[in-house]
Every structure is written in C-alpha cells, then in structure tokens.
Symmetry: C2
Subunit: 469 residues, 2 copies
C-alpha cells in the first residue's frame, strides 16, 4: 500500500522537482504549508507538498510526472470531508483544486453551469443567483465544500429527497487519469446513451480513479419565498407523514425536512440558548422549510399544515419562524451539528441510510444494540429524514479502543445492506470507513472495485490507503 | 472479435448442453425459435439458442458455463432496441430476461419498486397505478421495452427533461458478471457514498459488462388530470419559450413537450388523416401535455397559455384536445414515428442530443450540410425538445452505400460533442453506431472503455461486436 510507505523524495525535494513542470502550476512546500489549517482531519497536509494547478493541462503534467516517478497523489478540495479521505503521508503530493476556481460559463436558458472543481458550493450558488438560479444540491458545509469534492464523495445534503444526489446533478466531467491522460466528457445534456458512461466512476470515486478538474452541473430555479417551522413529532413515521403532506400540496415546494431525535434537540438547544418551550418533553423535532409564490403563501401553508396534521399525527408542538433571522436560527440548530464535540471530543460518528419506512425500527434496534454493549451508551441521532439518511454520534469521547469501535460499528451497520440501505450515505469511505467497507460492503462489489482500480491505476498512486482496493 | 466467428457448438448442441444446467433455466433451440418475430432487427435471433433464466442463480449458472466454455452471450430484453444491440450470431447464446418477469415488491410509502429485468415498462406502470404511482420514465415503446433493456441503454424518453434518464431512476441493480459471479447492490435509498458505485457500469453498458437480473427503481405519484394541445411554432427557440412558460406555473406539471419539424408533421398527418387546418403552412408542431389538480385546471392552463404566448411568440396555430381519445390521437402522431418506413424502407435514422439553445442552429446547419452532399437530401426531424434530444431520419431508402452513409454521419455528428451534446442520446451504440462511436466519441473515453471491458470481461464474451472495445 503506497499510502503507508515513506517516498523516496523528501517534501522539499518533491516541491522543488514539481515546480516548473507547467506554467499554470503553483507548488507549495513544507514551509508554505506550515501553520495552515488542515481542515477536518489533522493529517490532511501531513505530506508537506501541495500542487495547485490552474488548468487541466497543468494537472495532467503533474500527474504524468508522478506516474513516471511513482509518487502517490492525494486529491483535495475544500478539506471538509469527514472520513479522512484527504489524509496525506510523507512522500505523497497533494493535488489541490484551489486554483481551478473559475465559474467558466453559466447557461441560464439551459439551466446548466460549467465550473472548475475548486469552486465552493456557496460561491456557485451566489453566481447562479444573479440569473435567478441555484444548485439542485445544498449542504451545511456549503461555504467550504468544493464542487470537485462533492463529486468525489457523491455528496447528498438537504435536497436529495427531491433532486437526488450529486450523481443526479452532474452532466459532464473532465478529469486527469492516473496515467496523466485527460478524460474529457463535458456533456451539457441529460440524454446520453453513447457507450459506457465512464464519468460515473469519478462520482463517488473518492479520488481513486483520477483528479476531477471541471464539471458541468444542472441548475434549478431559485425559490426565494420561504417559510420555516419546527414541529414536535413522536417518531420518524409521523415525520414522514408530515413530509408527505407538504409534498402533496401542488403550489408548495418542500425545501427541507430535517429530524433531530430528542437527545440531540435538547442538548443542542441548551447549548445555544434556543427556546424549546414549544416542544413537549421527550418528543423529537422536525425542521420543515417550504417555498411558494409568496412568503405569505408559504407561511400559510405551514400554518394550515400544522392545523390539519395536529390531531391525526398527535404533533407534540410547533413554532413557525417569524423572520428570516429566526429561520436562520432554526437551521443553525441542525447545521451546527458539531456542537457536541467540545463535550465529547472525537466522538465516533456515523452516516447511514435506510429505507425511510424502516427508520423507527432501525433507531429502536440500534439503541438496544448499543445498550447491550454498554448500558451507558447513548447516541445523538439526526438527519435528512425524507431520504432515510441518519447521522449518528456516540456520546462518548473518541477514539475508542479498536475492539470497542468494532462492536459499535457492528451495532450500527449490521442489517443495513440487507434492508436496502448504505453504511455510508453521503460522507464516503475515506480512511475512517475502510473497515466498514471491508466488513459490510458486498464482497462481489469489493472484488469488482479492486479489478477496476487495478485496471485504471495499476501503480495504486491515486489516494492510496483510502477506499480499500 | 468473438461476435464474428462461428462457435464450436452447433445451435442444437449448445441448446442440449445448456438444458439442465439449473432447474430455473428454460432453453429454446432453433426449432423453438423458428418463426418467432425477431423484434426490431432481423438478426436478433440468428444464433438459434435462447436461455431464459427465471432466477439470478439460473442466470449465473448459465454464464459460468459459458465462461468456462468460451461461449459468447447476447443479453436480450424486449427486442425494441433500434441500433442492433441485440443482434446474435451462430455459436452465441441469447440470455433473455423474459422469465425474470416478476414485480417483486412495490413499497408505496417509499415510492420504490423491486422488479425483474424482464418486466415491460407498461406492465410496471399498471402495477404501480394500483398504488397511485407510476414510473418516472416513459417512452413510446412502453408495451414491449423491458426494465432491463432500459437500464442497459440508459433509456430516456418523454420525461427526461424533468426526471432525468434511467440512470436517475435506478436505485439498485443485481447483475451476473461475465465470470458468473453475482453482483448484488439492491439498494433502495438515493443516498449512497460507500465506495465506487459500480452498478453505474450496467446502466448504459449495453450488456457488455454483465446481465442485469433485478432492478430497484424510484416511482413517482400518478398525475391523471391532464390536458393536451398542439401548437404551431416557428422554431425550437419558440418551443423552448412555451416550455419555460408551462414549467414556471406553480400548480401545473409539464408532462411532455414533443416537437415535430414541418416535414414530419405534414407527412405524418397526411398518412393518418389527421386534421392540420389549425397549423399555418411551414410551421412546426409542438405537442404539449400538462397535468394539474383537475382536468379543468389543466385545460385552462393550456388555454391561458395559448392566449398569453400567442403574440409574443408569434404562434402559428393551436388546438386543445377535447377528449382523451383526441389526446391519444395527438400522441399517436408523435409516437408512431415509424410511419415513414413503408415509403422509405430502412431509411437511415439517428438519435442525437444537443444543448437546447443550440437546436435551431444545429438543424439549420444540418440541412445545409445534407444539401451539400446531395441537393435532394431532406430529413424528418422530431424529438424530445425540452432536453435537446432530436430524432433524425434521412428521407431515403437504406441501407446507404458505405461512403454515402459516412458522409451523412459526418454531416449529422460533426460538432455535436464539442457543443456538449451526444451522438447517441437514448438508443445506445449497439451494432449500428459502432462507427459513430469510433469516429465521434472522445478517444480517451474509448481507451478507458477498452481498459474496463478487458478488466471485467477478459474473454470478451458479453455482447461481442456491439459497442466497440
């Protein structure tokens, strides 16, 4: 495994050799990287060398050199990945999308955009807003997550229940293959049946098959007239009924449906001084946002919905945001989900999906399985409820000893594949879910992944040590 | 190339050897296949042996035997493919999905379905209708096209502008790999980021990477309250403005937008005795269908739309269907697009996509390029206008001499990739678009396709002679 070994170049040697490979290439060495924030994982910048191409040609020159010299490459975007997919080791070189940061062209009449891989999601949203458009995908880390990174992890987020995930938003991809060759499929149409669609390999490929430089994405109309509410619900089944109600209203678009189980909402609210007097004890909270032709219509849809659903669903409270500022505070409770880390540093966290109708049974079973390991075990449970995506955090400082982590993983992942879900819903495999991939991904899928990795990257130079091959 | 050679077994020998491989396997030999309709290509059944597994295990047993004995396999569904992707040769065996025809489970609350690959689209639509649901994809050949075939060609159809293509509808796939191993990824959720998503290879893979046995698909709510109109338009730009109008109405869903250029609508209407008195001479026809809460609301949206758009878009006529029967007749004009074959047998036909804003320039350029080859050349032009998908038929009996076909292909395909379109939008490559793939697909894509084909199917046994590898 290339990721483990120390390369034959020191970081300074490597930086010196890479500089000058191409006029569009900036190379940073250990001294320039010293003191930089490494993003979500402390070892992201550990290799000490970062190449920043400003063009596909520059990226190709870098990759060709690395291929010839057997130097491993760690592709990096906004460093917001949560599973260590960007961790680097000495001897490797980081291939960063930071300077591939141009929005090349927005095509308003087609609702598509050509964009450099290094453009952050929020920057793209701002540019699209000038045309009354926005991205069909949105997520909490929009300020730093890059389009290239979102492609590489097949990012999901808060709109996937309606628009699908990144794979469903991508029309075209340009990428540099491990050989240094450029794969360019910058299609701008949705209908393509012209042989195998190999760009799909880069979506969710976590940098194992190449380095994405440019992307064509669908856009969708902005819907600015919104209203936001918090509802108290007993379980996921009730939350799904609320969701069905709002999705069935013809003049309303559901923009978000985020559920926080009781422990999460109570601890998050306590920490942030958020008033929970509207929520009955022991109930879960469901954040609902809708859009309509006017803000007033959106708000009255929420009011009428609350009234209609109150008795049949035995709702446990409700509050409608009275201002944009209040709506933002509602969302902060959900999106600032790292609130618990100061109290439980490195708490083991998980990101799974199950068919939505299985959510309540899954959560009940999970709690029982965790208690069976240790009666003191409890978890924060929250997530994108409409597509069955749950985030789970064990309320215990990490890292856990290996055998304990294994027991917890088994409690969390067992049965998910058989139920039609996934042990990783939107965060990827990276370094930290390697074990889960080996233990819980279908063996035939693992075998096929190895065959294809070997065929595309025979030297194993792209993002070694992450998704296991 | 395995597809060209004659195998070492006669069809009767092959049928005899395959029979009894698995209890769920039915094998038909030359005598049973004699006189069967071969579907869209006369050579589909030419190999004379068809294996019909009723389970994935039976398909796997068949494939394992073929792998061991180096017998090539031609996967077949409903035989509605238009590019010869199902053509078989002596020595090969057809692997048919005909008996994988069970709708395994519909999950109404999740709006998903698990379905055998051999289920025809329309049968699935009927089954889903019992739950108020339907498929998010629809196409003219719904009566015979199977789900497995639609996966293999990444089918598009009339709803792709809104819901995407088959790739966007598929959640899970089970398939038999060329080795005989079973790849099972029957995920029922949209959010998956658990390593490379290798089931994508089977979508649009045209049977080159394995045989799809079962599929999980998204479903969507049925919208039965509809209204249908024909409008006269001067060009695609006007048609796209009409489409934008109806897509912007909050209480209306656009269900179809099909454009027929003047020559097509006139000849089709003449042949079918369809009244065109509403359409100004020389105008194109745009078929629009919308749904709403009630049939009345749908119809008045069309009436108001006609009124609003008439002057600004200089519409060239309009007629709203007054009954379901009349709406069906409107659709027949578009869906019975083979009307011209009796007059021009084997007329060369093409299926391309370009970014919608490029449609008018493309069609004008195409007409000029065709006339430059032969001043008598003309084409029928029609298609799924909202996603830029055009069907083109040269009004001349085929097959053309090779050099003439090459000139016509060059006229049709040149510049499409550079414009962000595709030389095959929804029909696949098959046997007939091999040359186009070699001439017009990006060289690096072709090279990568060969690498992956070699890795997955090193003996080249799956659907040889089709997409060139």
């Amino acid at each position: 495994m290339a990721g483990g070994k120390t390369g034959r170049f020191t970081p300074d040697e490597l930086a010196a050799r890479l500089s000058g490979l191409h006029p569009d290439l900036v190379v940073l060495g250990p001294s320039e990287l010293a003191g930089r924030h490494p993003g979500e994982h402390p070892d992201n910048l550990a290799c000490g060398v970062m190449a920043q191409p400003a063009s596909t040609a520059a990226a190709a020159a870098l990759v060709a050199w690395c291929n010839e010299n057997a130097v491993a490459i760690v592709p990096q975007g906004g460093l917001t990945g949560l599973v260590g997919g960007n961790v680097s080791h000495q001897g490797e070189v980081i291939l960063s999308s930071a300077r591939l940061n141009r929005i090349v062209a927005i095509h308003p009449a087609e609702m598509t955009v050509e964009v450099g891989a290094g453009v952050p999601l929020e920057a793209l949203q701002h540019a699209a807003a000038a045309h009354g458009l926005t991205t069909g995908i949105d997520l909490g880390s929009r300020g730093s997550a890059t389009i290239g990174g979102m492609v590489s992890t097949n990012a999901g987020g808060i709109l996937a229940f309606r628009n699908g995930v990144m794979r469903h938003q991508v029309l075209g991809i340009e990428a540099v293959l491990p050989s240094g060759a450029v794969f360019s499929d910058m299609t701008r149409v949705v209908k393509v049946s012209a042989g195998p669609d190999l760009k799909q390999l880069f979506i969710g490929g976590e940098g194992a098959f190449g380095f994405v430089t440019h992307v064509v994405l669908k856009l969708e109309p902005q819907r600015a007239h919104r209203a936001t509410a918090f509802l108290g619900v007993t379980d996921a089944a009730s939350a799904l009924s609320v969701i069905r109600h709002f999705r069935s209203l013809p003049a309303i678009t559901l923009e978000g449906a985020e559920m926080m189980w009781p422990r999460y909402i109570h601890d998050a609210a306590a920490l942030k001084g958020f008033d929970l007097s509207w929520l009955e004890d022991g109930a879960a909270a469901l954040l609902i946002e809708v859009s309509a032709e006017t803000v007033e219509k959106a708000a009255s849809a929420l009011e009428e919905g609350l009234e209609t659903l109150w008795e049949p669903l035995a709702l446990k409270g409700g509050v409608i945001a009275q201002s944009l500022d209040q709506a933002r505070k509602f969302w902060e409770i959900r999106e600032d989900s790292g609130f618990y880390y100061p109290a439980v540093p490195n708490a083991p966290s998980f990101d799974i999906s199950v068919p939505p109708t299985y959510l309540d049974a899954y959560v009940a079973g999970l709690e029982a399985r965790l208690k069976a390991i240790d009666p003191s075990y409890a978890a924060y449970v929250y997530g994108h409820i409409a597509d069955g995506n749950l985030h789970l955090t064990l309320i215990k400082p990490g890292p856990l000893p290996e055998d304990e982590l294994l027991a917890v993983e088994t409690a969390i992942y067992t049965g998910i594949r058989e139920a039609g879900g996934s042990f990783s819903a939107e965060h990827g495999v990276g370094f930290e879910k390697r074990h889960a991939f080996e233990a819980f991904a279908a063996p035939e899928k693992q075998a096929l992944a190895r065959v294809i990795k070997q065929a595309i990257d025979p030297k194993g130079l792209f993002n070694p040590g992450k998704v296991p091959f």
